[in-house]
Amino acid sequence: MRARARITGVGEIAPTRYTEGETVTTFVARVAHLAMTDAGLEPGDVDGLIVQNLADAPFMGASVMAEYLGLSATYLDMVDLGGASAGVMVVRAMAAVHAGLADHVLCVTAVPNERVAPRAVGMPSTAAAGYKNRSAQGEWDVPLGATGGTFAYAMLAQATMARCGVTGEHLWQIVDTARTNASRNPAALLFDQPITRDEYDASPPTCSPLREADSIVSCAGAGAVVVSRATLRSNGAGSPISILGAGERHAHRGIAQIPDIAVSPNADACRRAFAMAGVAPADIEVAHVYDAFSSLVPRALAEGGFVAAPEVGAWMTAHGLGSESPLPVNPFGGLLGAGHAGVAAGMSLVTSLVHQLQGRAGPVQVGLPRLGFVNSTGGEMSTNVALVLAREEG
C-alpha cells in the first residue's frame, strides 16, 4: 500500500560532550534549519511542528518555538515520552499528514549540554527575573508589564470594536447574556450571581477598553472526551457526535508578532474546519466560542464567517445571542458565566456542546440542534482551533 507520508528531510548535529553557547531554543532552531534545508523547504513551507518539552518555554512551548522559527502552523504538538519521544513524533506527524492537518511537519529534538547554565537575557526587572520563561516573551514583553494576557485581549478588543461596529453596549449585551444563561445552569460557577447594568458600568477597568466584568472568573474544573473510530458501534450513553471538521492556525506567540490584529489567525482555523466539514457557517445551529473576554464573541462571529465583520454589532443588536437568536452562543453560560478552569475551559466548551447536540443539556437545552461549532483560542490569540460537530442520524 502506498504510504501517505514520507520523510523528505533530515538534520543531524553530531554528538559532543558539551555544546558552546547553545540554549535549547538555539539548538532546536539550528537542527530544524538543517532538516528544512535538506528537505528543500523554507520556513514558509512548513505548516507543522512537533517539539519535546522545552526548558526555555515552559508554557505553550510548541507555539513559542513555531514563532521563533517563523512558521505559520496548522499542526502543533509536544511529545514528552522519554526515549520514545522522537519515534512517536514521527507517528504523530504521519497521522497529521494522513488526516490532512498539515503538509510538512517538522519533528525536532535537541539536547544541549553547556558547561555554564545559560543566563536569562534582557530581564531587568524583579518580576521578569523571577519569570522562569526564557522565551522571547520573557525578554521583550515581560519587562514592560506586558504579561497576564488581559493587555493582549484589550488590544484585540480595540481592533474588533473598530472593525465590527461593536461598542461598549455590545460588550454589556454579551456579559448580560452569559450571566442570564448561567442563571439557568445550576452547574455554572456564576449560577447565582446575576449582574445589573449599574454593576457592570461600575466594574473597574482592567486594560482599556475592557472591564473586570468583561473577563472570566478563574476556577477549578475538569473535562474529558473519548474520541472513537467512527466505524465502531458506540455503547455510549448519548448519541455519538461526529467530528465533521477540524481546523487550526497558530501564526505567532506574542501579540506583537500577530500577522494582522484585525483578522487573527483564528479566521483561518475556522475556515479550515468548515472546509473539512463541507458545511457553511449558516448551517450551524449553536456555537460555543471562547468568551474568556466578552470582546472575543463578536470577533468569533466575524472570524467564524457567521456575520460579515462590519455588520457584527448591528447583527448582535438585531438578533441577540440567547436562545431566541438564529445563532445561540454559549447557551450553557459560556466561560464568562460558567467559569474558566484554565486549560480545562476549552474542554467545557466541547463537552457542553456534545450534551447540547445529544439533547442532554437539561435546563440549558436549546431545541435539538444537529450541527454545532466550537472555537477556542489560547495565549495571546496565539493558538486557535475550530471544530464542527454533528449528531448524525443512523
Binding site: T26, Y68, M155, A159, T206, C207, P209, I258
Partner: protein
Amino acid sequence: MAASDPFWAAAAEGRLNLQWSTAADRAVQYPRSVSPYAVDDAVEWRAVTPRAVVLASTIVHRHSHPEFQVLCPFGLAVVETEAGSARLMARFDASLDLHPGDSVDIEFRGEPPMVWVTRTE
C-alpha cells in the same frame, strides 16, 4: 552571546539597531539565532530611524503582579517600524492618547533600557 545583545547594546546608547534579513529585505524583530524567513539568509545588523506606527494600544489600569500594579496606569502599544517593518512591544505614558495609525518615535528609558514610544511631533 545572545542573538539580541546588539539590540540592547545600541539601546543603551539610545539607538535603534535591528537585525536584518537580506533574503527578505526586512527586519528580524525580535532578533534570533536563525532567520525566520529563509534557511539560507545573510543576517546583519542595521541602524534605523526610530520611527514607527501604532498597530494597537491599551492603557493598563490594573495588573496582577504587584511590581507592575504600582506603575498603573501605564500604556502598552504594539508598534511597527517604518524601516524594516519590525514589530515591537512598547510602553507609553498613560496621559498620551495613542491610537492605531499614530506615528510614534521610539526611545529607550531606564537602565537597563526599555522600549518606550512618544507621539511624533
